[in-house]
Amino acid sequence: MSIDTTPRQSWWTRIAHPGQFTAWTTPWLKPLAVVTVLLFALGLWFAFFNSPEDYQLGDTVRIMYVHVPTAWLSQFIYAAMAVSAVGTLVWRHPMADVSMKAAAPLGATFTALALFTGSLWGRPTWGTFWEWDGRMTSTLVLLLIYLGIIALWRAFEDQLRAARVVAIFTLVGAVNIPIIKFSVDWWATLHQPASVFRPDGPRMPGSILTPLFVMLFAFTFLFFTLHLMGMHTEIKRRRLINLERRAAERGGAA
């Protein structure tokens, strides 16, 4: 741990320094990973051995324990990116840039996983891998937006300038999130409507709800762990680029 030499600064300002941020968050990394592994072990045990088959869907109901958490993350990560984007634009917080950049590939991966597990689930239950249903289409659009954001990050050479521009685009693309959320209510075609977070309580028995929630937390903690690691990697990458640039300048001067 580094020594705090500026006692009057708040922690919010202090973690703006990449070194301080890394020092402050490194001790969190291992506990987060341990919690993730434990939650996955518990969740998978519940999902495979300690939850009933559905009376209609049979064993395929177990796909839900992967499908719902990845789909939840696909939207949660975008929300995290949008919050980081506000941090970049309003406070110009350097770690918000890094958070935004580290989240984009994770979001794309989890969205792709949600679509993939959804199509695996759809084949035996709906009889089709893909249907142009409201929620599927809007999730596909979300994946395209993620990929566009990644492409935009890669197109810029100066990452500091890229951050603000990407932040603006991230906030523009955020209009898709409510569309995904309410797509099942607006276009009632194939995907079932919300059945867990409802005003009148969940529409599932506890035997299925428990593993679902454990898996939800497991995947969310997996994201926290990977996101933090991604941020650390991004900080190191930036430091490396700076060092290389400085070395090149010195080489040019000599």
Binding site: T137, G148, L152, R161, R164, V165, V172, N176
Partner: protein, 221 residues
């Protein structure tokens, strides 16, 4: 003359005197309509059924293709830097450029729509609907395009990135644009589709100048 109208006039004059660009875009628009019958066969009934989709795809692609010119040349010759220090706020500058861009790219396309209508065997009613839906929907395409163009303007070889960014966001425009033309089986919903298209256009045109202005301001320093 205020700065706002001066920018519109300047863009129009520049494009009209250098010529060519708007005509090339119209050519591209018509060519897509010509190529599609070769791809799917010259069956008049099938073409008439697909015509709304083809017209909108052609307009969509043409608008995306022309997107890069919205701010690119002004960024390259330094005009955008001067506009930043002008009294007119950047959002107003972006709106003025969007209006000029719409007049230069969308209006020629709409004027050329009768050609496509004849080649794709549309009837009179479908043609009128296509005209109205293009007239109402293209401002939304320009508005979204302005966001994409302003975000990518500082990237030196960013020509392809802007369409890739904007395409997923513009899908609703495509859905309701085509919906406003087609009278499919079941009850006629083209009226409500047209209203939704108008709503999308109004919202995007109202908000995108601010996003574009912000993007230009933060990308340039």
């Amino acid at each position: 003359m205020t700065g706002f109208s001066a920018i519109i006039m300047r863009d129009l004059r520049l494009a009209l005197r250098s010529g060519g660009d708007a005509l090339t875009l119209v050519l591209f628009f018509v060519m897509i309509g010509v190529v599609v019958p070769f791809a799917i066969g010259p069956d008049r009934e099938l073409l008439a059924r697909l015509a709304p989709g083809i017209v909108w795809i052609a307009a969509f692609l043409s608008m995306l293709l022309g997107l890069d010119r919205l701010f690119r040349t002004d960024h390259d010759d330094g005009t955008l830097l001067l506009l930043r220090s002008a009294q007119t706020p950047l959002a107003a500058v972006a709106l003025a450029k969007m209006i000029a861009h719409w007049l230069l790219t969308a209006v020629p396309l709409i004027v050329a729509t009768p050609l496509l209508a004849v080649m794709l065997a549309m009837d009179m009613q479908g043609f009128m609907r296509a005209l109205v839906s293009l007239l109402i929907g293209t401002p939304a395409l320009v508005a979204l395009g302005a966001v994409g163009a302003s975000v990518t303007v500082t990237i030196r070889r960013g020509g392809l990135i802007a369409p890739v960014l904007i395409l997923p966001l513009a899908i609703p425009v495509l859905i309701f644009g085509v919906g406003a033309i087609t009278t499919g089986p079941g009850p006629d919903q083209s009226g409500s589709a047209l209203l939704l298209l108008a709503a999308i256009s109004l919202i995007t045109v109202a908000l995108s100048p601010f996003a574009a202005g912000l993007a230009i301001a933060s990308g340039e320093d």
